[in-house]
């Protein structure tokens, strides 16, 4: 590898947020705190952009490695980056920048939560470090440590609010996360016993269809499905995502569940691809379908705005799981390539942007309204037109209406399911879209109704003015969602070689 290689930047992607968290922890309460964190967010973003550009300019789109400690794969730990992970890193960089900007305002004195900000920033940067470390990791045990960093810091961030509901949600989230990690650790122990290595590539090379590998795949699937919150295991998600501070809710829905999904996709298609079968993938698809219907229905029945959005995440995760049945399963093992994986990648990006926009705008609406009751939102469109607009754009993308990123993602899913002859998923996708429209128009309909509900009580509540930065960040995310919809070919052209490259 000659010249400037994207792998040179891999350690920096992990270490920059670590340094940021150390500094945030040491600095503590300080006038400059917000600026320091913004500086790090900008640096992080530039670094990610540079890495992505370098990776794309390397033409081959081959996975590149960075050897830590000069030992090499079986003995040491290698950082590996391929098309899929570079996409996730880029997404993380973008959302980190935007949500950090939002948080500097959210945790400022204006909203009397500066105290919480002191605990927020170090944990926030450790979470980002964990996410980045996970996406560049090429070692099975290293992934376990990264999963623990993500799980513990996410649970600690949920608990920041300090209310009983938040603490209980955080405790449940923590216990579920620890349980999932233990399943993953046992799977790694079994894999190490059979293959004698922890490097993912080497495990993939020597994996066969034997019983130990199958058992390991089952354990990994159980553990990670717990963390992803696929339908019957989703019980912890709505409370955790709804009770967290708004920026945390956004990152949890947009990235943290996707991190576990990333690991599952890696193992299912690449590393232990030989063990997965069409039948098993149909089970995952069925659970995904059930998640779409159940999540949408629960979202429709929710009375709190944030709970509604959290249930919508449960439903949207169901769509991504249609990836598993729609992929091609050959005799020699499955692979993460073709139109199904393209649809899934597009869906991950679209959902991350739309859901982050939706959570941020909902947080603004809640701050402006004083509480999170959906019924209280009546007529809020006149007071907060921009935030309602952002909410509407994000909603359009989540329903899958044109012109939005969600539309293209769903279109790809539909065409893939027709191509592969599995027409039953078409029904699920369309029904999910209808349900989605139901719960989102319920909110929007209320927001655009003129007049306010029980004005006497509403006026008494202290209404805080939402800062311009917070609205602007939500707006930028909404615009990105729309732009992804308008420039579909551009994105597909980029993601196409990425998908080709990420298959082994």
């Amino acid at each position: 590898m000659n010249g400037l290689s994207s792998s040179l930047f891999l350690p920096a992607i992990v270490f920059l947020p670590l340094i940021a968290s150390i500094i945030a922890f040491l600095v503590g309460r300080n006038r400059l705190q917000g600026r320091i964190n913004m500086l790090f967010a900008l640096l992080q973003f530039l670094l990610v952009i540079l890495t992505t550009v370098l990776f794309l300019s390397e033409q081959s789109y081959q996975s590149s490695r960075y050897v830590i400690g000069g030992w090499g794969a079986p003995l040491g730990i290698d950082l590996v980056v391929d098309g899929f992970s570079i996409l996730m890193i880029a997404l993380t960089g973008l959302l980190t920048l935007l949500i950090s900007a939002y948080s500097t305002s959210y945790f400022s004195e204006q909203f009397s939560s500066e105290q919480k900000g002191l605990r927020f920033w170090p944990l926030w940067w450790l979470l980002i470090a964990g996410l980045n470390a996970l996406f560049v990791s090429g070692d099975a045990f290293n992934i376990y440590v990264c999963l623990e960093i993500i799980g513990l810091s996410a649970a600690a961030l949920v608990a920041i609010q300090g209310t009983r509901a938040a603490l209980e949600a955080a405790l449940r989230y923590l216990l579920v996360g620890l349980l999932g990690s233990l399943f993953y650790l046992l799977a790694i122990a079994i894999l190490y016993r059979t293959h004698g290595t922890l490097d993912l590539m080497q495990i993939a090379a020597s994996a066969d269809n034997g019983l130990p590998d199958k058992v390991a795949m089952i354990l990994i699937a159980i553990g990670l499905l717990l963390k992803i919150a696929l339908f019957p295991l989703h019980f912890w998600l709505p409370q955790a995502h709804a009770n967290a501070p708004t920026p945390v809710s956004a990152i949890l829905s947009a990235l943290v569940v996707k991190a576990s999904l990333y690991v599952l996709i890696k193992f299912w298609f690449d590393i232990l691809g030989e063990t997965t079968t069409f039948g098993a993938s149909q089970v995952l698809g069925a659970l995904g379908g059930a998640a779409i219907l159940y999540g949408s229905w629960s979202a429709f029945r929710a009375t709190q705005l944030k709970v509604l959005i959290a249930y919508s995440t449960v439903a949207q995760l169901g769509y991504i799981f249609l990836l598993f049945p729609l992929s091609k399963y050959a005799v020699g093992g499955s692979s993460f390539s073709g139109s199904a994986s393209q649809a899934a990648i597009y869906f991950i990006v679209a959902h991350a942007c739309a859901k982050a926009a939706m959570f941020l705008s909902a947080g603004n609406l809640i701050l402006s309204q004083g509480n999170g009751e959906i019924a209280q939102l009546k007529g809020i469109a006149t007071r907060e037109p921009l935030n309602v607009l952002v909410f509407a754009i994000a909603g359009i993308s989540l329903i899958g209406l044109p012109p939005s990123a969600g539309f293209i993602a769903k279109w790809l899913l539909l065409t893939t399911s027709i191509e592969s002859g599995q027409w039953w998923w078409v029904i699920v996708v369309i029904a999910g879209g209808l349900f989605g429209a139901m719960y989102l128009f319920k909110v929007l309909g209320l927001a655009f109704t003129s007049g306010t509900v029980d004005t006497g009580q509403g006026n008494k509540q202290p209404r805080e003015h939402v800062s311009g930065v917070m609205t602007a960040v939500a707006m930028i995310l909404a615009i990105i969602t729309l732009a992804l919809g308008f420039n579909a070919e551009f994105i597909l052209n980029i993601s196409n070689p990425i998908v080709e490259a990420s298959s082994v």
Binding site: P11, F15, L18, I19, S21, I22, F25, L26, G28, R29, Y66, V67, I68, G69, G70, W71, P74, L75, G76, I77, Q115, K116, L118, R119, P122, L123, L126, G130, D139, F141, N142, V145, C146, E148, I149, L152, S153, A155, A156, A159, G162, T163, R164, E168, R172, L175, I190, Y192, R193, T194, H195, G196, T197, G210, L211, P212, K214, V215, I218, W236
Partner: protein
């Protein structure tokens, strides 16, 4: 199962809502599957043992476990210290850097057993921790064991309430992250010197490993001690924060 988190002290040992039958069938099935996978298939014959033995001369230490933890797979250990830091940040009270790091609180009841323990056991623990840290290079021991012992000594010393450490003062904060700072700094400096992250130069690897281990020991000790006192000390604001918030 997790729908309602039971915090009732006198509650039953087994959750009444959980279906014991289905859980035991599921778990038994999983166990049978695991044992079958274990018995029917042979393990990899050597694992990574030959590779470690082969490269241990280049690692700067002779204890293979320390070599794996702080040289071959040092990146894992670095992230693991970050895990400990996460919990400390989550548990520490918000901010109180005005009070000194170490102070003497008013004399409390004199407990004969406790003071004897403090006088005899605690210094022994500190010395033994130092020995474990030093000896970790060539025999069982190392930063984590030493850190845990040191934390034990801390807990014992501050049990009586005569002395107290303020874990949120600036000094304590620095000590809490010093392990991570040195680890990250050495790792990044070695990119400059050797061209790759955490690649120790052969001649100075043992001294660098000892430096990292010593700093990590301090951080681990303070971290574990602060985790303990966050639960034990009723005056610790983190535990009582919920109380204050719900009152106001």
């Amino acid at each position: 199962m997790f729908k309602k988190l039971d915090t009732d002290y006198a509650g039953a040992a087994v959750d009444k809502n959980a279906s014991r039958l289905s859980v035991s069938i599921l778990v038994a099935g999983l166990l049978v599957l695991l044992v079958t996978a274990l018995l029917g298939y042979d393990a990899h014959d050597v694992g990574l043992e030959p590779l470690v033995t082969q490269s241990i001369e280049l690692s700067g230490v002779t204890n293979p476990v320390t070599a794996v933890l702080l040289n071959f797979r040092a990146y894992d250990t670095l992230l693991e210290i970050a895990v400990l830091l996460i919990v400390v940040i989550a548990v520490l009270p918000i901010d109180d850097r005005r009070t000194a790091f170490f102070r003497r609180v008013a004399e409390t009841k004199h407990d004969l057993v406790l003071s004897a323990l403090q006088r005899w056991i605690a210094p022994a623990l500190v010395i033994f921790a130092g020995y474990l840290l030093w000896a970790g290079a060539y025999q069982p021991g190392g930063a984590f064991q030493a850190g845990a012992l040191l934390a034990g000594a801390c807990v014992l010393l501050f049990q009586g309430g005569t002395y107290r450490i303020n874990y949120t003062s600036s000094i304590a904060r620095l000590l809490l992250v010093i392990g991570l700072i040195i680890f990250v700094a050495v790792g990044l400096a070695l990119i400059w010197v050797e061209g790759s992250l955490l690649t120790y130069p052969l001649e100075s690897s043992s001294i660098l490993i000892l430096l990292i281990e010593a700093c990590a020991t301090i951080s681990i000790a303070i971290a574990l001690a602060s985790l303990y006192s966050s639960l034990f000390d009723t005056a610790f604001p983190a535990v009582n924060m919920g109380k204050n918030e719900s009152i106001t």
